[in-house]
C-alpha cells in the first residue's frame, strides 16, 4: 500500500463509537455534579471551583436556602448515573460478546507495558489507528475497572442501608465515599492523558467519530460476526 491509497477501513465499530461519546457526556455530568456534591461536605480541605461544577445556581440557592446548589447537582448526578450505567452495560456486553475486548485489550503484561512506555517516552512508539499498544491497553483496562469501581462505590454510598453488604465490602460508608473520590481522581488523571494524546495525535479524533481511517495507516476492527478483521 502507498501513501496515496484512498481506500478506507472501519477501525472503530459503531457500537464502540456511540457508547464512547455517550460515555463522554455521562462522565462529564457525573464529574461536574459530583464535584458540586463534594463541595457541600468535602472530605479534604478544598473545594472545586463552582464554575466547573454542575448544579443549582450558587448565589440563588445560597440566598433562598443557605446551600450552594446541591439539589440541582444531586438531580444531575442521579440522572447521569442511569445514562452512565446503561451505556456502560451495553459497552461491556458488546465488548465481551463481540470479542472486541479480547481483540483490542489483550494480551497485556508488565514487560510489554514497560517496553511500550519507554518507547513512548522517547517518541519511538508508532501509532497505528485501531491498534492499541501495551500502555494504551493497560490504561483502557484500568479506566474500565475504575468505572466499575465508581458504580459499585456509588451504589454503596447511595444505599448504605439497602446495599449494606456492598458498603461493608468497601470498609463502610465513609471509606466507600473516600474510594468514590479516589476513583474519580483516577478517571480525571486518565482523561488528562487521554485528551493530551488526542492533541498530540489528532488523526485519532475523526476516526472515533466516523469510525473510518485510511487503510494504509490503520488496522481494521474485528468483524463481530466472523471473529476476524472485517
Amino acid at each position: 500500500m502507498t501513501g496515496t491509497d484512498k481506500t478506507y477501513v472501519t477501525v472503530h465499530p459503531g457500537v464502540v463509537r456511540l457508547t464512547h461519546w455517550i460515555n463522554a457526556v455521562a462522565t462529564a455530568i457525573m464529574i461536574g455534579s459530583g464535584w458540586r456534591i463534594w463541595n457541600s461536605s468535602p472530605i479534604f480541605d478544598f473545594s472545586f471551583p463552582v464554575a466547573v461544577t454542575i448544579g443549582g445556581d450558587p448565589a440563588l440557592s445560597q440566598d433562598t436556602h443557605n446551600e450552594l446548589g446541591l439539589a440541582g447537582a444531586l438531580q444531575w448526578h442521579f440522572a447521569g448515573m442511569w445514562l452512565l450505567a446503561i451505556n456502560g452495560l451495553v459497552y461491556v456486553a458488546y465488548g465481551i460478546l463481540s470479542g472486541h475486548f479480547r481483540h483490542s485489550f489483550l494480551p497485556v503484561g508488565p514487560s510489554a507495558f514497560i517496553r511500550d512506555a519507554l518507547a513512548a517516552l522517547t517518541f519511538r512508539l508508532p501509532h497505528r489507528l485501531g491498534v492499541y499498544n501495551a500502555v494504551q491497553k493497560t490504561l483502557y483496562l484500568g479506566v474500565l475497572a475504575a468505572g466499575v469501581l465508581m458504580v459499585l462505590t456509588g451504589l454503596a454510598i447511595w444505599k448504605p442501608g439497602q446495599f449494606q453488604e456492598l458498603a461493608w465490602l468497601f470498609g463502610g460508608f465513609d471509606t466507600a465515599r473516600l474510594i468514590h473520590f479516589l476513583g474519580m481522581s483516577a478517571i480525571v488523571l486518565f482523561l488528562l492523558v487521554h485528551i493530551a494524546l488526542v492533541v498530540i495525535v489528532p488523526k485519532t479524533l475523526p476516526t472515533m467519530i466516523t469510525g473510518r481511517a485510511p487503510a494504509h495507516e490503520a488496522e481494521p476492527a474485528l468483524d463481530p460476526l466472523h471473529g476476524r478483521p472485517a
Binding site: I54, G56, D57, H65, P160
Partner: protein, 249 residues
C-alpha cells in the same frame, strides 16, 4: 402555640423566600458548565429541568421498589456521638423553644382517633432505643443513640390507616416533610424523645423528632407539632426545593 405560627409566617414571607420550585430550578441550573464539558448547545433549560424532575420521580419509585424492612446496621453505644451536630436551615440561636407542659401533638387525616397527645401520654408508651448512622444528603454522616416509641406502635395506637400512602409532618420552625407508609412501618423508625439517653435538647428537636434510619437526615423532622396520614402527596421543605423525595439510604 403562637411561636410556631409566627416562625412559619416569617419563613413564608422573608427568611426563606417562597420561590416556586420550578422557577428556582429553571433559573438555577448551571448549564454553562455542561456546555463547557460537552460542547453541546443546551438552550432549552425548561425541558432539561422537566426531564431531571421526571428522573427524580422515577428514582423515588426505584427506591420504593428496593426498600425492604431489613434492619439498618446498628453500632455499639460507644460509637454514638455525644455532642451531635446541630443541623437546620438557620442558626442554632433561632431554634424553636417549645413549652413541654402545654405541648400537644396534633393528629389529622386518615386516623381513627385524632385526639391530640400530650408529652406525658407519649412518654407512657412502650419505648425502644437504637444506635444508628444518620446520613446527611450533603455527604457527612454521624452515629447517634436515639430513644422513643417505635413509630409503627404509635400508628397502630392511633388507628392510622396503614394502607394509606404517606405520613406527613409539620414542625414548629415551619419545616415540613413526609415519608412513605412502608418506611413509616419499618421496625427502626422511631418517634423520638431522647438523644444520648437524655431528653432532646431544644437544638435537637425538643420535644419530638422522627428518627428514620432508612432515610437521609432531612427526612428526620424535628420539633414536630402535627402529623397526618394521607393518600395525597405531601412533599416537604427540601423536597419542594428539588431534593429527591424518597431520600432513602
Amino acid at each position: 402555640m403562637t411561636a410556631p405560627r409566627d416562625s412559619k409566617d416569617v419563613l413564608r414571607q422573608g427568611a426563606v423566600r417562597a420561590i416556586e420550585r420550578r422557577s428556582f430550578l429553571k433559573q438555577g441550573l448551571s448549564l454553562g458548565a455542561l456546555t463547557l464539558f460537552t460542547g453541546c448547545d443546551v438552550t432549552d433549560q425548561d425541558s432539561v429541568q422537566y426531564a431531571l424532575n421526571a428522573v427524580s420521580r422515577w428514582n423515588d419509585r426505584v427506591q420504593a421498589a428496593l426498600f425492604t424492612h431489613r434492619l439498618m446496621p446498628t453500632y455499639p453505644e460507644s460509637a454514638a456521638v455525644k455532642d451531635f451536630r446541630f443541623n437546620a436551615y438557620y442558626g442554632e440561636d433561632a431554634v424553636p423553644k417549645i413549652d413541654g407542659a402545654s405541648y400537644k401533638l396534633g393528629l389529622s387525616g386518615l386516623v381513627d382517633n385524632r385526639k391530640p397527645w400530650t408529652l406525658d401520654e407519649l412518654y407512657a408508651l412502650p419505648q425502644a432505643s437504637q444506635v444508628t448512622r444518620h446520613v446527611c444528603v450533603e455527604g457527612w454522616s454521624m452515629i447517634g443513640k436515639w430513644g422513643g416509641v417505635p413509630f409503627r406502635t404509635f400508628l397502630a395506637r392511633i388507628g392510622a390507616d396503614l394502607t394509606a400512602k404517606y405520613v406527613g409532618f409539620e414542625c414548629a420552625d415551619g419545616y415540613y416533610s413526609s415519608i412513605d407508609m412502608a418506611s413509616a412501618l419499618h421496625p427502626q423508625t422511631l418517634l423520638t424523645f431522647k438523644i444520648s439517653d437524655e431528653i432532646l435538647a431544644p437544638k435537637y428537636g425538643y420535644p419530638l423528632k422522627l428518627r428514620v434510619p432508612t432515610k437521609l437526615g432531612f427526612k428526620n423532622p424535628k420539633w414536630i407539632t402535627a402529623m397526618y396520614v394521607t393518600n395525597r402527596f405531601p412533599g416537604g421543605f427540601w423536597e419542594d426545593r428539588g431534593y429527591n423525595w424518597f431520600g432513602g439510604v
